[in-house]
Symmetry: C2
Subunit: 301 residues, 2 copies
């Protein structure tokens, strides 16, 4: 990436993150609304934290189809609500029992388990509400398709299914295809949904274009997880903002465990190259998507 | 109710319950799908249990607008998935810590807490998926409205909000308006959504008609909870299929605690009368809705 492109991308990213922070705060019910404690917990889990990777993907795909920013903000909120609820529930003692997230106490530590459970549930409902509440596509049939994509990516054959496979595989040795299948569901499905939802907010793509974009999304989704495993192995807790080295300690299968650190890094580089190749037909219109692939694979936390 | 009407209603109800059992089984992913344990838990929590009150309300409202049975089945599935997930999460140790539901061990007892958490999450996603996956209204804009209604009824200003108020009021003395507000959200919102969703599956109603139907739904929603409180006070665990007398033991506010048993029964009767009065303009087309109001208020478990 040239220095100018890198600077432009950084500015674009900061602009999207700022737009999203405002949109998330506006769409979430105020802490003054009854029950205050629940709304407080919802806002705590969503606001002022995270890299907003999924909204960034929504906006990057949206830039390919000249989508209005307002639509992308709402779609980004839906993705971020699903992502946030999954973290809240995943951190609970019944699952990962984690006490630190984005450098802050996890929701059940700060608000208690009952509120964490309810806040997660309410955030999932909020995701579908924001997708249905506003005009997000040129016609309502496409908007229904967006809801279908998000619901399917979130459910038992998507993210929840991946979490289940992860849960039931603790202490077991997975093969590479099994590990890949788990991550395609656990993180990949939602990342893919982010790219697709963004692409529905603007001028319709041809089915060939949509397939190329979907290939990009699949590669990025998997690369994201490979990099997560590498960072979990390499980084310390302070940089990561969450407990590091946890996966190995919990005997969880990771790419690093299966491929070694060097092999995992090669895998991430291959996935990035494959993602970039699928963007070629779009030419310069895909610059942001390309830069975002680099950002996701080369990040340090 | 005359004997013939009562018999007809009983047959209608059994038919809807049988249709719903088949539809729920068909729409839920098979237990053979990976992760099997998660899908098993989802099926366990939804199938072969419950009175299917919300689907009955969907069908009863659908009978007012000549809605096709298939649409009502899908809408009924969505309501039942939301209802089932709320029970699974509500029964968990972090919330009510209940071990018995519909005469069977609760999901976290049978499958463990992590699976119960995930199964509930996946059921909520399944609810929105089934509403988006099939053609349920004459136009996609109405179908988006159905999703909007269900999401809003389920979220932090609906069912989850009511559960939160319930949670934070344990050990406190609520006034009657506060108790009512809690139940309007906790059970009422979903019951109201059931009636509205059913009405969207067929010939459009006028706004006056929709308001009358909504008044019916509000009364029935509140009556349902008043009767629940009465039954929790009067019945034994065997008849109820869940732990009886729990609310009083947990020092939870109930209608019986506030109004006395006699007062709570009068309240239920008043709500039923008000619900029936709002159906008058529909004439005989509302027979099933009338009979269902009687069934909900006069039930013994």
């Amino acid at each position: 990436m040239s220095k100018t492109v890198a600077t432009d991308f950084k500015l674009w990213m900061e602009d999207v993150q700022a737009q999203m922070e405002r949109a998330l705060s506006r769409v979430l019910p105020s802490s003054n609304h009854l029950p205050e404690r629940l709304h407080d917990a919802m806002r705590y889990s969503v606001l002022d934290g995270g890299k907003r990777v999924r909204p960034l993907l929504v906006f990057a795909a949206g830039s390919l189809v000249d989508a209005p920013a307002e639509r992308l903000q709402y779609a980004g909120c839906a993705l971020e609500f699903i992502h946030a609820y999954s973290l809240v529930h995943d951190d609970m003692p019944a699952m990962d029992n984690d006490v630190l997230r984005r450098g802050k106490p996890t929701v059940h530590v700060a608000y208690g388990e009952a509120t964490a459970l309810l806040a997660g549930d309410a955030l999932q409902a909020a995701a579908f509400e924001v997708l249905a509440n506003h005009s997000l596509a040129d016609n309502p049939a496409d908007q229904l398709q967006m809801i279908r994509i998000l619901a399917s990516a979130s459910g038992s054959l998507g993210m929840c299914g991946g979490q289940g496979i992860d849960l039931y595989s603790v202490g077991q040795t997975l093969t590479l295809p099994q590990l890949e299948m788990m991550h395609i569901l656990k993180t990949g499905a939602l990342i893919r949904a982010a790219v697709l939802l963004g692409s529905y907010c603007g001028t319709p793509l041809t089915s060939e274009q949509r397939e190329a974009l979907d290939h990009y999304a699949k590669c990025i989704g998997l690369a994201f997880q490979v990099v997560d495993d590498i960072l979990d192995c390499e980084a310390d807790s302070a940089t990561l903002g969450k407990t590091a080295g946890k996966d190995a300690a919990n005997n969880k299968p990771t790419y690093v465990a299966l491929l070694g650190l060097k092999g995992a890094k090669e895998k991430a580089a291959e996935l990035k190259a494959s993602a970039l190749a699928s963007l070629a037909p779009f030419g310069e219109r895909a610059n942001i998507l390309s830069a975002l692939a680099g950002y996701i694979v080369d990040r340090k936390y």
